[in-house]
Symmetry: C2
């Protein structure tokens, strides 16, 4: 599977019950500015699907830039999602490592063909994400991130 995703981890995602409280702790611990809390889009915009089924799940997010790595705090609601499932099963803590890809559909199909099912996908302003169920093999979920190219460049 060489080269399918590259090996540059761009983000670690950590599940929390209270993103406001934990992001305050991170800002203080690392001497960073406390970021604005972002709420994921509603289902009609995010087109979120979890295990192949549309879901209204949303999450509150906080992002910290830690050198070349981004740290994402995720407080999910109680609708069906990979975030809620994982939090219920494992408790708070790291959930995924993320890789930037091009050609999301093809990458998902390639990984599914290798036995890694698509667990959740959705759209955000400027791009889309997909969580692949790699937990059984890799003991962490792999997220694919595809960012739209700047129109000015095309």
């Amino acid at each position: 599977m060489s080269g399918l995703l590259g090996n540059f981890v761009t983000q670690i995602g950590i599940l929390v019950n209270d993103v406001e409280k934990v992001s305050t702790a991170y800002a203080e611990f690392f001497g960073l500015e406390k970021p604005e809390i972002i709420v994921t889009d509603t289902e009609d915009i995010a087109q979120t699907r979890h295990n192949g089924v549309a879901t209204q799940a949303r999450a509150k997010l906080a992002f910290f830039d830690m050198g070349s790595l981004q740290l994402e705090l995720i407080e999910p609601d109680h609708e069906p999602s990979t975030w809620r499932d994982y939090l219920n099963e494992h408790g708070e803590g790291p959930h995924h490592i993320a890789f930037v890809v091009e050609g999301m559909k093809e990458k998902i199909m390639l990984l599914e063909g290798k036995g890694f099912p698509l667990q959740q996908k959705g759209e955000y302003t400027g791009g889309r994400y997909a969580y692949m169920d790699t937990f059984k093999e890799l003991k962490v979920i792999v997220e694919l991130l595809e960012n739209d190219k700047d129109n000015g460049e095309e």
Copy 2:
């Protein structure tokens, strides 16, 4: 606490029950060479202390270089350790993010003074580590790594 650790994450540590099996899966998934499994030193050499008490705990380790980030797989034995405690409580999955520091003793004292207890420490060839109990606040354990300077440079 600005500047105490910097904000460059050098490593993610993931707890596993079978490092042989999981490291094979990583090598295949990322198209990387399967690394040699390293076993941590015995207590007399590693001087491992867990919650202030000497422990015979050891672990089998596998390291993957993922761009600027190192990914560490850890299969602990059943002696008392942060690895075994965390694995028993959360199951397999990510355990820590690590930061390279200078002046280990001072860094540990500074963090303890801020309310983050030392959870485990030990020596390895060429350096030493300390796991600080940041889980309650940061939802991940922070590891400090101090590497000895090359004698030739001093």
